[in-house]
Subunit: 144 residues, 2 copies
Amino acid sequence: MNCSIARALDVLGESWTLLILRDVLSGLRRYDQLEASLGIATNVLAARLKRLTELGLLERRAYRERPRRYEYVATERARDLAPVLIGLLQWGDKHLAGAAGPPRTLVHNGCGRPATTELVCVECREPIAQHGVRLIGPLRAKAV
Amino acid sequence: MNCSIARALDVLGESWTLLILRDVLSGLRRYDQLEASLGIATNVLAARLKRLTELGLLERRAYRERPRRYEYVATERARDLAPVLIGLLQWGDKHLAGAAGPPRTLVHNGCGRPATTELVCVECREPIAQHGVRLIGPLRAKAV
């Protein structure tokens, strides 16, 4: 697949993957915590955690001996998905929250304020949304 | 579902949805263009386009009469997913490109340079990655 979006979706594939990463990146690391938070069948969760570990998104670490217990730690590869999760969160907050409003508030640890985020170009620091971006390569190049 | 990430994933659900949006946001609007780009079964594409239209992500517009032909235009709701797609693209570029390097180059229309993007807090303009964010609400609050 000659497209990084397609490759990324192929790895992430189904929504449990991103929801598990949401939880691990939010500080839930143990099997029982994840099971309670996700409401996921235990065999499905076990399979997903195994797969995420194989893919290098999670690292399994023993946190107790006798009986041996493991927790799951996000790797850099997983932490680099934070912008995708934040993007999904803000999209859901804006477009799917309905009259009740967003269920949770994202707070920026830097300034302590409720965080609205935007993408900027690292080169010129301008917001991406203002002028847009285009992809150069096999897929037709056009403003996104 | 008391989480905007979960709601967003439930709407977007499977990878065809985001790949169709990738193409429409890249300028492919017609059925045959999308079919050729995606290599997707025609009945699956038709069902996805219908669903994306019902969800308010695409708008169907006639661009020719006799025979009547339609194109699909991204709504604001779809355009607001651009940061998610850009996030997936950059993650795939960094983690899945292998020795061949990224298949395509993202260029910022503002400055004309290959674009690396980062999320900043709209309030204080600091990069999100530096201090992180936390979610306040039902899911355990902790740095993402």
